[in-house]
């Protein structure tokens, strides 16, 4: 079959275009897709690795903070932790003029590597005494926090109040894994 020059050009152009389309469809497009997928995976893994490094750095700071907590009267024995709170509450309540009130241990629960002891306390006194006691609790150097507070007036028009506090303290039971020093990132 003899082709004219025009026909030959058209045939070559058709073959070239078809070849290009075929090459794009079979090779280029899958390759670009694979590259894009790899790039996305790499970006995600790189972000994960950075997050991991951040986590390990945070762990170092957390370990230092835990050491500081242990130096700040974080007990390992529940009885010691309970006694520490009971003594502190008695001292603070008397200092605030609230009398001895009632203090009762109500619950012990685990909180991760720590354990929590809750106390139910009730006092009678003035608003001044109550705020003094609350200030002592909020600025204490022992692990203690207010879970719930209820104040109710005993006699209307007088500064004579019933004061109920639900408190919580924390201790680190023995046998929990020691805070390991942070390793490498990633």
């Amino acid at each position: 079959m003899v082709l004219s020059k025009r026909e030959r050009v058209i045939l070559i152009a058709t073959i070239v275009v078809a070849g290009a389309v075929l090459a794009y469809w079979l090779i280029v497009s899958p390759l670009l897709d694979a590259r894009a997928a790899t790039a996305a995976t790499k970006a995600k893994l790189t972000a994960d690795a950075a997050e991991g490094r951040l986590l390990m750095a945070q762990r170092q700071r957390s370990a230092a903070a835990l050491e500081q907590m242990k130096r700040s009267n974080l007990k390992t024995d529940p009885a010691e932790a309970e006694a520490q709170v009971l003594h502190a509450m008695r001292r603070w309540a008397e200092g605030a003029g609230l009398g001895r009130g009632q203090v009762q241990t109500v619950r012990i629960a685990g909180k991760g590597r720590f354990s929590e002891i809750e106390f139910q306390t009730s006092y009678s006194g003035t608003m001044r005494g109550i705020t003094q006691l609350l200030w002592q609790i909020e600025s204490a150097d022992i692990p203690i926090r207010v879970v719930k507070l209820q104040i109710a007036s005993r006699k209307e028009g007088q500064d004579d109040l019933n004061f109920e506090l639900r408190l919580s303290t924390l201790y680190a039971p023995k046998g929990q894994p020691a805070p390991a020093r942070a390793g490498g990132g990633g």
């Binding site: 390759l31 690795a49 700040s72 609350l134």
Partner: protein, 464 residues
């Protein structure tokens, strides 16, 4: 044309001997070395291997070390025809000359090697000199050179090389007479054109033979056409040292101005250690022409120039394809590299997973524990903000207050008027640190008085 730097080797071949001459140009100095092999007995061109070996030995003995050479053949081995052709381009000229060769020569290219040189003639057309040599001789010469360890750059005519050394001829033309021990050769040139190369049967040995030369020249002149085209100058390369007087007399008789050429003046070869013997002039002229002699039977102009194996379009297409391929390879290699990095990264993450999980749990535990130390959610702050919302004059008062650890605050109280409750509510809502302020109830206290009881719930998470 000057000698090229380095070693320029020429072999002058004739029936009796092969003379090798090497002109060495280096460091501003020119040196001439020679060697020769006589063709006698069994040492002939018929046995190129033997001749080549002997030539090799002589070259070594003479200190000629060039690896390529130009070979000059005697005029007696060459047949020349002059053709006057109309102006034509190179391709057309090649075709015309090929047709002329078919017509003028009985033998074809299997037996003869052809070449031609063309120059513009004074008449406006082209003066073409077609030269032919026996293919067998060309093959033998090549074989001799190969056996001597030499590559052949060109095979040409010694006489033409000598004629070219004398520069372009004047308008009337000239005859260049090469007087050699083996015979006499004449080249007729007009301007740039070569018109005739002829071996003259007479040997120039004495006055009588000089007269014979005069007769030979007289017989040449009619072959050159009109009287106006007749040569006016006779240049003589005397390689035998004969008496010049008879030659001068013969030239005078023909009306030709005679000049005797020298190797120093015409070939440009001179120096303290260089012989002025004109017998070496032919080889020296060939050595000077090693970058492209006028006639070259080895690289004939009749041969079609080799077509480019790849056309421009094909080359462009190949370049585009190569570029695309290179891009593809780069993309592929880059992808594989990234893939490898991903694998390494994934492996590292997999290996460090347990440590990261442990760290996350540990960090969460410590964060939780800090709520019992420096991150306590206090109650005094919410109490202060709620207290500020109550007026000091005693129209409304709280009877109970509850604050939970999530800072949900519930205030219950009494008021003399409902408006006072609403005032308190407005003040609480105006406080930006409090949120989700909600009235649980406002109701009459049950007596006939307008006093009401109320309960308000709010969130004090924003309070320090």
């Amino acid at each position: 044309m000057m000698f090229s730097r380095g070693r320029n080797l020429a072999l002058v071949v004739n029936e009796h001997r092969i003379t090798a001459t090497e002109v060495v140009v280096a460091g501003g100095k020119t040196e001439l070395r020679t060697a020769a092999v006589n063709l006698t007995g069994e040492t002939t061109l018929k046995d190129p291997q033997r001749l080549g070996r002997e030539l090799k030995a002589e070259l070594r003995r003479g200190g000629l070390t060039a690896s390529r050479c130009v070979v000059g053949l005697p005029a007696s081995w060459i047949v020349c025809r002059e053709k006057m052709l109309p102006p034509a381009d190179e391709q057309a000229l090649r075709g015309i000359v090929a047709l002329a060769i078919e017509r003028d020569f009985a033998s074809d290219e299997a037996d003869l090697a052809f070449d031609y040189c063309a120059h513009s003639a004074a008449t406006g057309g082209l003066s073409v000199l077609v030269a032919a040599a026996a293919r067998e001789i060309i093959t033998q010469v090549q074989a001799v050179a190969a056996a001597a360890g030499l590559g052949v750059s060109a095979i040409t005519s010694t006489a033409i090389a000598l004629a070219r050394c004398c520069g372009a001829a004047g308008p009337g033309g000239r005859i260049v007479l090469c007087v050699l021990a083996t015979g006499t050769e004449a080249v007729v040139a007009s301007g740039e054109s070569l018109r005739l190369v002829r071996h003259l049967s007479v040997r120039l040995q004495d006055a009588a033979s000089a007269a014979g030369i005069g007769g030979e020249l007289r017989r040449l002149l009619p072959l050159l056409g009109a009287a106006s085209d007749a040569p006016r100058e006779l240049l003589v390369w005397d390689g035998t040292g004969v008496n010049h007087a008879p030659l001068s007399a013969a030239a005078d008789e023909l009306g030709l101005a005679v000049r005797f050429c020298t190797i120093a003046a015409d070939v440009g070869l001179s120096g303290p250690n260089i012989s002025s013997d004109n017998a070496l002039a032919g080889a020296a002229a060939l050595a000077r022409a090693n970058d492209g002699p006028e006639i070259d039977f080895l690289h004939s102009r009749l041969a079609e120039p080799p077509k480019a194996r790849v056309g421009l379009r094909a080359a462009l297409a190949a370049a585009v394809a190569a570029t695309l391929l290179a891009i593809g390879i780069f993309l592929f290699v880059d992808w594989r590299s990234e893939d490898h990095q991903v694998s390494v990264l994934a492996e590292e993450l997999k290996n460090g997973k347990s440590a990261r999980d442990e760290a996350a749990v540990f960090n969460a535990d410590v964060r939780l524990a800090r709520q019992w130390f420096d991150n306590r959610a206090g109650c005094l702050g919410p109490m202060r903000e709620v207290t500020r919302a109550f007026p000091s004059e005693g129209r409304i008062w709280a009877t109970s207050l509850e604050i939970r650890e999530d800072r949900q605050v519930t205030v219950t109280g009494k008021s003399l008027t409902e408006a006072a409750v609403l005032d308190v509510l407005d003040r609480l809502k105006a406080n930006r640190r409090l949120s989700n302020i909600e009235t649980l109830y406002v109701r009459n206290s049950g007596s006939a008085s307008p006093a009401v009881t109320f309960s308000i719930k709010l969130n004090a998470a924003g309070v320090d």
